[in-house]
Each structure stands twice: as structure tokens, then as C-alpha cells.
Symmetry: C5
Subunit: 401 residues, 5 copies
Amino acid sequence: MNPLSSNPQATPNRSPALTEPAGAAPYTITDREATRQAREQQVGQRPGTLNIRPGALKPRLFLMSYDDSTFTEQEYTDRYDELLDELRQHPELKHWIDVRGYGDLPLIEQMMQDFGLHPLQMEDVLNDYQRAKIDVFDDNRLFMVSRMTDFTRDLEIDDDQLSIFTGPNYVLTFQDDYDDCLDSLRTRIRSNFSTLRRHPVLYLAYALTDVVLDHYYPTMAAIGDYIEDLEEAIFADKRPRRLLNRILRIKKDVVRFRRLVYPERDKIAEILRLPEEIMPETLKIFYRDAYDHAIQALDLAESYRDNISSLTDLYLSDQGNRMNEVMKVLTIISTIFIPLSFVVGLYGMNFQHVDEHGHLLPRNMPELYSPWGYPMVLFAMGMVVATQLFYFYRKGWLTNR
Amino acid sequence: MNPLSSNPQATPNRSPALTEPAGAAPYTITDREATRQAREQQVGQRPGTLNIRPGALKPRLFLMSYDDSTFTEQEYTDRYDELLDELRQHPELKHWIDVRGYGDLPLIEQMMQDFGLHPLQMEDVLNDYQRAKIDVFDDNRLFMVSRMTDFTRDLEIDDDQLSIFTGPNYVLTFQDDYDDCLDSLRTRIRSNFSTLRRHPVLYLAYALTDVVLDHYYPTMAAIGDYIEDLEEAIFADKRPRRLLNRILRIKKDVVRFRRLVYPERDKIAEILRLPEEIMPETLKIFYRDAYDHAIQALDLAESYRDNISSLTDLYLSDQGNRMNEVMKVLTIISTIFIPLSFVVGLYGMNFQHVDEHGHLLPRNMPELYSPWGYPMVLFAMGMVVATQLFYFYRKGWLTNR
Amino acid sequence: MNPLSSNPQATPNRSPALTEPAGAAPYTITDREATRQAREQQVGQRPGTLNIRPGALKPRLFLMSYDDSTFTEQEYTDRYDELLDELRQHPELKHWIDVRGYGDLPLIEQMMQDFGLHPLQMEDVLNDYQRAKIDVFDDNRLFMVSRMTDFTRDLEIDDDQLSIFTGPNYVLTFQDDYDDCLDSLRTRIRSNFSTLRRHPVLYLAYALTDVVLDHYYPTMAAIGDYIEDLEEAIFADKRPRRLLNRILRIKKDVVRFRRLVYPERDKIAEILRLPEEIMPETLKIFYRDAYDHAIQALDLAESYRDNISSLTDLYLSDQGNRMNEVMKVLTIISTIFIPLSFVVGLYGMNFQHVDEHGHLLPRNMPELYSPWGYPMVLFAMGMVVATQLFYFYRKGWLTNR
Amino acid sequence: MNPLSSNPQATPNRSPALTEPAGAAPYTITDREATRQAREQQVGQRPGTLNIRPGALKPRLFLMSYDDSTFTEQEYTDRYDELLDELRQHPELKHWIDVRGYGDLPLIEQMMQDFGLHPLQMEDVLNDYQRAKIDVFDDNRLFMVSRMTDFTRDLEIDDDQLSIFTGPNYVLTFQDDYDDCLDSLRTRIRSNFSTLRRHPVLYLAYALTDVVLDHYYPTMAAIGDYIEDLEEAIFADKRPRRLLNRILRIKKDVVRFRRLVYPERDKIAEILRLPEEIMPETLKIFYRDAYDHAIQALDLAESYRDNISSLTDLYLSDQGNRMNEVMKVLTIISTIFIPLSFVVGLYGMNFQHVDEHGHLLPRNMPELYSPWGYPMVLFAMGMVVATQLFYFYRKGWLTNR
Amino acid sequence: MNPLSSNPQATPNRSPALTEPAGAAPYTITDREATRQAREQQVGQRPGTLNIRPGALKPRLFLMSYDDSTFTEQEYTDRYDELLDELRQHPELKHWIDVRGYGDLPLIEQMMQDFGLHPLQMEDVLNDYQRAKIDVFDDNRLFMVSRMTDFTRDLEIDDDQLSIFTGPNYVLTFQDDYDDCLDSLRTRIRSNFSTLRRHPVLYLAYALTDVVLDHYYPTMAAIGDYIEDLEEAIFADKRPRRLLNRILRIKKDVVRFRRLVYPERDKIAEILRLPEEIMPETLKIFYRDAYDHAIQALDLAESYRDNISSLTDLYLSDQGNRMNEVMKVLTIISTIFIPLSFVVGLYGMNFQHVDEHGHLLPRNMPELYSPWGYPMVLFAMGMVVATQLFYFYRKGWLTNR
């Protein structure tokens, strides 16, 4: 009953029947509460129970069949049986069955049975938040997960899951969305001159992994540019609002990106350790190259983390500098005027030069009666100000830091 | 004397008799001093000495017996002998003996003897703060500890211990509380269509581990939501009191959660390394799935830790910003009014225009006698204020940062 | 000449003679300078040179001899020869030779020779600051070091060294002090019903390790309580003086505790890796339990470290908050009164309404001559204050944050 | 067709033909947008597709041929065929083919074919940002990447890639630039007495690696000097603008340097693990020395990182100190003058000594009518100032910190 | 030609001739620029090229020859040939050839040839900044590097290199300086009763390593004392200038010390892994002891690092506290006097009680004409001050924190 599995006996311990329907009809609520309810519903379910995420898209099926000289490509949405027929009729070709969207449980279950997929792995496919990994079936078929990233306008890393099953002459991929980052690969397959068509079908699985990995670079580049913009914004006269908030948000992205790439690297390392009969040396040389790329992406992510941490330091130090500047303005103004105010207050006192009986009190503020009193006071105050300004100048308070 | 142990000779080096009663009668004091006294009492005791925690609940016993086609379920509280009889009469069935509450030392000791449990492991059961672990008996029976978490209303992670002993045809679990998170599993066993009933009894031990692991997700989700709430609270106009305190408390939870899950992951990794005769490959495929889940929970916990550390940064920076704002208000007010106050003080001085002998002193404050003196001073002060406001505006101090 | 060593040829490469006396007569100076002098004296000495720490206590010798049915216990201080006789006369019993105090070099050297102890290890014993470790002699005898902790009133972790040598039918322990934490173990040995007396003598070495490990918990509990007290003190209205100092001191303790327990854990892990002929599996099951305890103690220490780091954050943030509060009081007072002071200063100016020639100057401060001038100024100032208070209230500055 | 590859069958799985031209004609745009476009163009391309970086230099070809006694050196730019002839005519000599600049795709492809280079590795060569690494071909030839560093005037680490291919009697190097740091090595080869000419050709590959490693030290020294300059600048009276910015920039450099050296160390470690037939022990002794140098460079980089982190602490603390000083000036001035201003304000009050009806009001400010009123007030204010100055002096506020 | 090398064929691949003189005549410039020039000169040189550091001392040669019963000791400076004769004449004795100072290249090269030393290792000797390490020659001779530390008065760790070559019956040491820390070892050798003289010559190499290791403790102790002094200084009323600078400087020392000890530990660990024929078990027991010491030194260094990090926290918190205190003084003074100044300003206003036409304006400041006006205002102001003082007292601002 597993017409496409090379060896139907290879997975005897897997429960092929899925008699308990998951029950959750597809619906579309996206708010936090609904998501949590859905999550809690799954708690305690039998492992391997398939849950279609609320709001999942209706699956579209595509098939590319090729060898060195021939190539056909067609969409089989709603025509799964024809797709199967096509596969059965052309065992000599290599096939890429490309499923986009999960929103049809009976179809998914039918494919599980036909292709001999394990419910636990199918659960990983549908969960859609599985880290990159590789599982080896006991008949040497592979199950690989890659995460495709996209950096959206509002500074979020958007990551979708690409699940890859390999078979003797086919590669079967599942993804959540209709759009993906694999078009450049499709173009290469369509080309008659592509070396890809001459390699065994396992090379297609590699090519998928590699294209996903290649797409990490534009994401990283966008993050890198944004970090540079933030760095300039820190020293701008008018800092944007909630700048630190943005810095920490991009940091979150970088941290998340690292979490995405680490398992990817580990996955490739595991592939490199696979025995020759599962992964031939002629393919490993390509994975070794992909491994270098993953390392480099991690390296870059580490650099970004360092940069962001320096940014945070800069931000806080600049905040301190601005406070310092405010304090200096306050201090200069206060220090200049407070003594002057004392002086003018002093000569505002009402000590009488003549008491109530008309006697002269010559010691009470004779300055007020001096003909040069006012000009001299003004001059004295000017001297005080000049002294203070000189002191501040020497302290470097008058220059801009 | 070990009717349910497959091989009574398998544990010859374990001291079966527990002649020294632990002495501590069950009582209910929960304050710190009492707990410490209890703790100190245990210091220096013989390893394997059983201590019933003060306030432990009276044990309730439940039995579920099942195979593909039959299923019985009954409570045997206070009827331990009948439970034993039931087990002996149905060696062909799979049994789950479910003990809730530890408050009856003689019963516990009787069970230890009947099921051939080691005192050291029984001590781990009763201690109730053993990290997740797995021990393998020399007759291939297993002792596993899982920690069931709950996130309470007052932001505490509440964790209870689930101790699992496996035998040839039974699983024996101990827990402290009457309530637990295993009801979804019980429902699955009761269902006639459950694949669980067709698997060997070791699968039940797996299913228990898996259900506990599944319950980590709602806990994590609640923590995640709370962290988001805190993030919003930081920028609120009126920050809640002791906000940092709350941030650090949730951090404590996350750290504690990580400490719970790490041993869980290690336990599962150890299970995956068990030889085929103890843990067959058909079960390991399920544990591999559980391993992925544990890794994912750890990943999430790491993200939360990063988020909280960013929150702390944000909080402190915002605190600095608020201080900055206070300083700016002070500086603006002072800087505007201090010079004005000097001016008005200046013209409050009492320099006399006429000395005591009636001579005019024309250099003493002639402004006071000018017909436009007052309006011009007012105008000059207005100019000063305008200049200052313009300066502050350019500095960006008047805008809300 | 090694009457108690099972195999005198086993340690041929150890230099048995200690002809160079260490020279340092026991004296009692505890200040820093003296300690340093002592330390420097040892620099460059032959490895294995025995140095009695200044102020070491005179050794007291105790012997416990037991098997399943018999038990004798006696102090042999100053009667080492009789102790040896006792050991020789009862080769069928298990013995615990318990030496407390190091202050008698000739006795120590005599014991080294009689029991075949290596000078390097004896140096470790006397140094008294050896980390927990295990050495295996080539005749399968063991040398183990444990560190006994105590948490003193003045927040110091006091740790003493317990050195354990095992022989074919004895355990020989050395410690610095007359008092220790082993009394609960002694009580257990004295009991006729103790399982300890039925186990081989190696079990006694385990029991000693386990008791020491058990005593870590009260130390940890005391530290945990103190940390909680500190947490409350941070938010107290009157913070105790040098609170941060105390926080950092307890942190030092926790860090030190971790440093004590890590080698303890490593030691037990090494014991678990010993081959069967040195450490039988029947004992390893107990060490596995001790290993769990050591891990748990480390776990706790890690939690404490996290807590203390959070405490430091809290302290500094609270310090910032207090500064903020001071600033706010200053700002409110200044902001309210500075404009008012300007206004009253304004009307304190002496612009004359009539010049020196008696001409009216109607533009000079006509307000002063208005019948409602004073009340209106008072009202205007009241309005200013009300506006400011409203502004501060909206900012949340009037509430207690 | 691979005249210089020792074993043409050794790389059967490499696609020798490069029929798809990379298309991107060399052009010269260096701004961010252009770089990103180029990067994005490569995403999804077939692995092993060669892309010439926009602006790449036209390749110059150099050949050094030598053995113990003979030596020839010539530039073969635009004469690649003659170079090949030279190589074929002198199989008994050792050759260094030195290619500088990548800007000629057909030539690069021709060399790939002639020397049997793998497209993936050639891609690494042209990418020019490959970390240091070593690949071993299946015919024991090596591909090594080193990174040559330079520390530019504007505090940037400039790093160029040196790609080294080894063959039976040649070493083939690629680099991006016409200038490099290898001139000292060239001089050594030219010398008739150089031991280098007596070693096998693999030693040349070592010597190249070693020279590159040697050049790390001047870079490190320049960074070290700059760090010292920064340390002095922190305490300078007039701190340079954006000092922290510079500190963090040099930190970026150090971090980047570490990232450069780590793979270098790993590469050498991998070389040391190569089997004898690929890397003879007589060469490994030199690599072991290079390994020590790499470790030492890493050590130095670690020290620098620590120093920079201390610098940041110093900077922030000094910033705090400066704020403190500003606050102290403000506080001293305010504290001295505010009470004085109160006093002079007090005696500026207009309480009347005589009411409007001419009655004496003797309680209203009699001081104003005392003959010694003014001198006594001055004296009192002097006392207040003296008291305050004494208080500040005792606090240590008047001294410079 | 290698009269003292046990097996002249053992090092065939080492280039014995050093025909290229290093050229750099010994001179004495110590400034940064000169050092850098010297460094840059070495870049790109042939590995194994010997460079005498500018300013190197003229070598002094010492020889100690001993066995159980005989002992001779002599200086052979400028008499290298006689030293060689002495060695050849007494092959039955153990010799320590002790070379201090490197400043004579021809002598060094002669020794290299006579003792069969490898140029790369000799380069390590002369470089004088090689980390601790061990190299094993192919004829089982050893090359070890230790670093001798000294803690100078001006808080610098001074470290010199001790390079040790072992041979069949000799140990050959090189060091830079005439003074060292090995005198205690020399005294031990001179003593007739020393066990050192009975051990094989390899034990001398161990003893050298051990003495160097022993000298780490006084260095650590000095650092520890200094850290304690710093801790007290933080809370002193008058903090010393640039205290943080000192803290960070001692931190640099500790970090450097760790970097010294880590390779030392690794070296000893590598020695412990050497096969029995190179390092007999009878010696390893001593190295195991040295390993414990190295671990303990590292442990201490880690503690110091923690302490210093706590010191930094304390310093910054105390800095914050001092700022707080300054702010509180400012706030108290301002808050008390600003309202008072307002009041006195209020009654300094010149609102007229009689207008210019002689009409009474009774609403204008009637208080000024009240007989109790002045006393009541004084009383009111006293009340305000009392209220404020009470408020501050309750806030805890008047107490010293």
C-alpha cells in the first residue's frame, strides 16, 4: 500500500492508520487567546496526532519530473490521484513533489500512507515550528527540516518551515505558504543545461537546503544595514523615540536568527557524519561547502550581537552625556547668577541711614550713599562673571563636551 | 516475597528491612523555621532512610488494567491487599498503579518490599525535590522521575514530582498531590480505540513522560504573555510599583524552568542511549520526538531569558530617561527665571539718588528715574526668555524627547 | 614495617624516611603577616615536606571497632602504641581510626610509616586547604578528601578538611579540629541495629562522605534565608548601611560554596568510574545517590547566584529610584517657587513713579499704585502654583512614584 | 587535460565544464546598494557558480621556479600559455605560481581545468571572505585559505584572502590585490643560501602560512598602542569627542581579529592531525611552532578585549565622576548663597516702623534702625559662609575629588 | 658532533647550520618605538631564525654535578669548553647546566649544536614570551617552558621564562636574568641528605617546575592583600585618586596571572599523559601533586577575579551614593530656603499703601502696617522650616544615609 516507499517492510513499527480524526475544523482566529486555546487543546494528546493549525491554507500540489534530457512540470492541486499515477508511470525519472499549504487533513493522511511517512514526523511538519534537523529512516530515506527566513519591513524575522522527505527517485517537500524562496532553484531545474538534472535525486534535497541557506544572507545584510542606521541615529541631535527599544528589538532578531542557524549547522554536520551508503562522498563535498556557509552566517550573527551590545553601551553613555550637558547648563547659569542675586539682594536691604529719631546711622550701608556706589557694584559683578566664565572655560564646560 | 518483581535475585544488595521508623509524625507547620528543623533532622541520617514530609497527604491508590480489548479502572484506597490480588490474578494484563499522597509510611514500606523498590530510590520519591532522572535496575526495570509544572496566579512555578517505576507488566507511579496533569492520558487509556492500549507497558511510561513534557508549553506560554505585559508596562505613563521586582521575579521563574527542563532533556538523551534490550528501537522513535520537544522548550526558555535581560535594560534606560526629564524641567525653569530674578533684584537695590545731605547722586541707578525704565526692563526680560526658549527648542528639550 | 598495609611492596617508590624536620615549632599567631611568612617559608621546599600549620592542635586519637555483633569505642590520645596493638589483635573487626588535630609531627610521621601513607598525600592532609579529591593507591587503597562546611554567625563559610584513608579493614581519618559534623554518624555506628555495621569497611568511607555532603544543606539553607532577608531590606524605608557590601559578601560565600562542591561532585563522579575491583557496584549505587545530592547542591548554589545578581540589580535600581525621588522633590519645590520669587522680586523693584524733579512717570510700575494690585498679584501667584501642581500630578510626580 | 594534476582520476565527481557564464561584467560601484544587489544576485545560484566581484583587478601572473641550486623568476601576465609551458618543461623544479587579481573569468576557468581545481573551492577563492580553512583533495593535494591582515590609519582591520593550492611540484596562490605581505618570503626564496629552497614544495605552503601569521603581530601591536593612547585620553582634562565611540570601534577590531585568528588556529590544528602521507612529521614540527604563534596571538587578543572592557568601565566611571564634580560645584555655590540670599531678602522686607497714622511699630524690624545692624548682618553672613566652607572641606568636596 | 645527545640520528630533519647571522647587534633602547621596530624586523623571517633581544645580558654558565654521594658546583662563564669537558669526563654524574642571559649568539649556536637542540625551540627560548609548554623530542628528551612570576612594588606581574631541556644525564636550563627564584632548590641540591640527589635526573626537571609553581603563591598572596586594601579604600572618607584605575590594574594582573597558570596546568596535564617510557609513574605521582597545586592557583585566581568584579560594583555604587549625598544636601538647603526667600521677597514688594494722590489703598499689603507683622512672619517661617526638617527626618535624609 506504500507504492512509493522502496521497502514497505522498513517501517513496521509505525502505526499506519489514523482512525481518530483530529476534530479541529480549520478556522481563522489569530489573536493570542485563540492561539493559546489551540495550544492547550494539544496538551496530552497522543504523540503523532495530527493537528491542522487554525487558518492553514488549502494544499496546492506541484510536480516537477526530470532527467538529463526530459523535463515536465505541472500543478496537480485537487488531482492527487493523477499525481500518483504520473509517479508510478515514470519510475525512471526524478520527481519533486512540492506541497504548499496544510489545510486538508484527509489528503495529508492519504499522502502519509502512500509515501510511508511516520506520524511523528508528519506532526513535526504540521507543527511548523520544528528546528532544523535530520532524521534517517531505517530504509535510508531522509527527513530534513530547514527554516526559510525573511526579514519583513517592520523588523521581524519571518521564518517558514520547509520539510523535505527523500525517496528512491523523488523528493517530497511540505511548506505552509504558497510563496517561498525556492524560485531560483526551480528556474535552474527548468534549464536544460543545469548540472542539477544530471545529479541523483538526493542532490535536489541538497540544493533545497543550499538555497534556503543562501537566503540567510540577504536577511543578515538587511539586519546589518539597520544596525548601521541605528548607530548613526544615536548621535543624531534629535534621537528618534524609543531608540533603545529598537536596538533591543533588532537584538531579538539577531538572537533568533542565531537560534535558527545553529540547528541548521548541526544538521549539516550530522549529514556529514552519515555513512557512505546513505550520503555518498560525492554529495558530502557539497554539504561541506554548505557547512562553511552556515558557519559564516553564525559568525556574522555573532558580530552583529557584539555590535548591538556596543550600541547599547553607546546609547546609555550618550544618555549619560546628555544628562551631563543638562546639568552643566544648569550649573553654569546657577553659578553665575546666584552670587549676583546675593549682591543685588544685599543692596536691596532696608537698613536705615537715619533712625526714627533722625539720628544718622553712618555704619548702615554707606555704599548706598556713595556717588559711585552703583557703577562699582555693577563693575564688581562683571568681574565675578568674568572670573566664573574663565573657570568654566578652563574646565572645558563651555565647549561642546 | 517480591511477587511482582520479575527477578527477586536481581537486587540482592539492597537492604529490604526498614526497622528504624522515621519517627516524624505527620503534622502541618509550614513556616520557614519548621521546614528548616525538618531538614536538619535528616542531616546525617542513614542514606535510604525514609522521611515522610510533614503534612503529606494520605495515599490514595488507583489501578487501571488494560489490554487491547479489556479495560478496568478502580480506586483501591485503604484496600492495598485487594490491589495486590488483582495484580496477581491478571498477569496477562498491563497495569497502571497510581499512588497519590505519601502520608502512610507503613504502606510505603510494604509496597517497597512487594515491588522490590530500592530504599535510595524510594527516598528520592518521598523527598519530592529530585531532578528529572532515570535509573536502570539490574533486572532492566526503570526508575524515572519527571517534574510536573504549573504556573500559578501569583507568578510562581509550582512543580510536583512524578516518580515512575516500571515492571514486567505494570507501571507504578507516585505523586504528592491528589490533582495532576495526567487526566488527558487517563482519558486516552479509557478509549477503546487508543493505540496506547496496543503498545507494550513501557509505552505507558513514555506516555506519562510525554504528557508531563506537553504541560510545559502552557506554562511557557503564560510566562511569555506576562513578559509581553511587562514590556508594555515599562513605557506606561504610570509605571506599576516595583516593576523591576516583577521583572526579576519572572526571570527567576524562567531560570527555574530551565533548571527543570535541562535534566528532563538529559534524562531523555540517556534513555535514547539505553541498549535495545532495555529500550526497544520502536519506543526510542517516540523518545526522539520527546527529545525534540524538550530542546524546543529549552530554546524558548533561552529566548525568554534574553527578552527579560532586554527588559531590564529597557527599564533602567527608561528610569534614566525619566530622571533626564525631571532634570530638564528643573533646568528649563531655573535657567529662565534665575537671570530674570537677578534683573528684578538689581532694580530692587536701594542705591540713593540723593545723599543724606540732599546732593544728587546722578550715577546711582538713573534707570529708575527714566520714564520708560519699567517697560524697557520688562521688554528686555521678555527678550531673554525668548532667546532661552529658542535655545532649548533647538536642543530638543521642549519636545517630549 | 607497614603492619597495616595489605601489601608493603605496593608503594616502593615512596620515600619512607622523613629525616629533615620541618623546623617550625607550633606557635599561635594568626595575623596576616605571620601567615604570609609561614607560606613563604614553604616556597621551594621539597615536595612532600610536612609542615605543621602554626597553632595546630595536639592530636587526639579515637578508635571505633565493630562488626555485625560487637562494638567497642575508646580514646587513645597519647597511647598510639596501644591503638596499634588493638588493631593487630582484631584483624577480623572493622576499625575507624579517627585523628583530630595535627600538632605532633613525630606521631604523624610514625603513622605515615605504620599505615604506608605517601608523603605527598600526607602533605595534602596537613596543608588543610586541599580541594575534594580521590587518589587511588596502587594496592587499591583510597585517599579521599572532603570539605566540611559551616556557616558562621558573621556570614562566613567555615570549611574544614576531612582526609580519609581506607585500608583492608580500617578507615583512617584526619581532621584539624576537635569538633566536627560527624556525630550523627558515630551514633549510627553505636546502634546495634545499624545496617552500616553489616556493610564492608569501604561503606564507612562512603558514609563519611555522605554525612559531609548532608551538612551542605543547612549551610545552603542559612544562606538562602539571609538572601531573602536582604531582599526585604532593599525596599525598607531605612536601608541598612553598606547593604551592597553585604550582598556582595554573601555572593562571595555562594561562589566559594560552589568552588567547594564542584570538586566534590567531580570526586564522586570519579569514584563512579572506578573499576569493580576497587569500588564494587553494591557501593556505587550509594555513590550515585550522593552524586545526585551534589548536583542538587550545585543547582541550589547556581540559583542563589542568580538571585544575588538580581538583588544587585534591584539595589542599584532602587538607588536610582531614591535619587530620582530626591530630584523630584528638588524640582517641584524649585519649579513652584522660582517663578513666584521672580514675581515678588519684580514688584520689589524701585522704579520711581515720580522723578527727582517731582514729574510723574506713569509708565513705571503703575500696578503698585492700583488699589487691587496686591490681591491680584497674590491671586495670580496662586493660579501659577495650581497650574504647576496639576502638571506635576499628571506627570505622576506627586504620587509616591 | 589536467596536465599538472598528479592524478586526473582523483576528482571524477567534479563538474569540469563551466558552460554557464556568470554574466556579471566587471564594473566598479562600491556603494552599499550595489554590493547588496550583487549579493542578492548570487542567492539561489548553483553552488560552485563563479562570480567575479565587481571591480576585481585584472590578474597578474608571476612564476618563481627553484631548487637547491637554480632559481628563475618572471612575470607571465597575459602569457598564461607560456607559464604552462614553463611548468611542463621543468617538472624537476619547484614552482610558485602567484596569481594576483581575479578579474578575468575565462582565465580563471582555464586554470581550474588545467590544475584540476574544484568549482566549490574556486568559488571560495573568488568570494574573498572565506574563513581560514584547509581542504584535502582525494589525491592528497591541499587547498588552504589564510587571511592577511593590515591595520589601516583609520583604525580598520583590512583583511585579504590568500588561497593556496598545492600540487606535486608546485604551489598555486590566488589573491585579490597586487600588493601583499609576502615580499619578505620572496626575498628569502631568491637567496641562494635559503634553507627554504632545499625543503620540499609543501614547505613553501607552510612558509606562506607562517608569513601571514607573522604579520598578525604588527597589527596587534598597533591595536595595543592605540588602546594605550585611549587609556591616557580618558583621564585627559579635555576628553576627545566621541571617545567611547572610538573605544568601541577598536573593540570591534579586536573582536574581528579574534574571529580571523580562531579559524587560523583550527586550520593549523587540523593540519597537525593530517596523516603522515599527506603532511610528513618533518613539516609538522614547523606547524607546531605556527600553532604556538596562533595561540599567542589569540591570547593577546583576549588580553586586549579585557583591556577594552576595563577602558569602557573607566570611561563610564570617569563620566560619572565628572557629573559628580559638576554637581558638587552647583551644590557648593547654591548652599553658600541661598541662605545668604534669604538673609538679605529678609532685611529687604518693607515692614513699616511707623504706620500710616504715624504710630511707631517698634516690633517691626528694629534691626534696621540699630546703628550696628548692617555690620552685624555682614559679620553673621561671613560666619555662615565660613561654617559651610569648613563643612565642605571636611567632606572633601573642596579638594579635587 | 652532538656529543651529549643520546642519539644523534634522532633529529635528522633539523637544520643544524645557522649560516645567516641575525645581524641585530645587542643595544639598549627600551622605548616602545624601538621594541616595535625589533618586532617588525622579525616578521617574515625564516622560522627558527634566532634573534637576540636588544639589551640581552651576557650569558653566565653554572654547572652543578651530583649523585648520591658527590657534589661539585662551579661557574664556567667564558669557559664553555671546560664545561663540556667536565660533562664528558663524568657521564656517571647528574648535571644541571644553568645558563643565565642570552646575549652571545655564537655561544648559543654552539650549544644548540653540541646539545642537539632544535632551532624552533631555541627560538622559543630566546623570544622569552613563550607560554608554558612541553615538547617531546623523538629520542624522548623533553623541552619544557615554565614562567617564573614576581609581583613588583608598582603592582606589575613580572614574569621571566625558564626553559628546560632534559638529556640522558643532564638538565639544561636557560633564563634571561641573573637573578631567579630557584635558590631554595640549589640549597636543597647542595645538602648531602637531600632525596633529590638520589632521584634520576628527570626529577630535577620536575623540581624546577615545582619551585616555579610554588612561587606563584606569594604573588597571589600579595595580590590578595592588595585587593583587601582596595576594598577598605573604597569606603574611606577620602578615596584615593583614580581608585577605579587601580582596581582595574590589579584586575589586569589577575587576568594575566590566569593566562600564565592555565598553560602551566595544561603542560602538567600533558606530562601526566606521557607514556611510561618517557615519564615513569614514580615521577608522575609528583606531577599529580603539582597538578593539584596548579588547579588551586587557578581557583584562587578565579576568586580574585570575582572579588575584583565585586569591588568594581562596590566602587560604582559608592560613587552613586556620594552623588546621592551631594544631591540630598543641595535639595535640603534649596527646599528649606527657597520658600523662605519667596516670603521675604513677598514683603519686599513695593505695593503702595497710599497712591500718588494721597489716597489710602488699604488692600495693598496691610500686613506691613500691622504692629505684629514682622514677628508673625518670622514665626511662620520658623514653622515652615520645622515642618520641612521633620519631613526630611522621616525620609531618613538627615541621617547619614
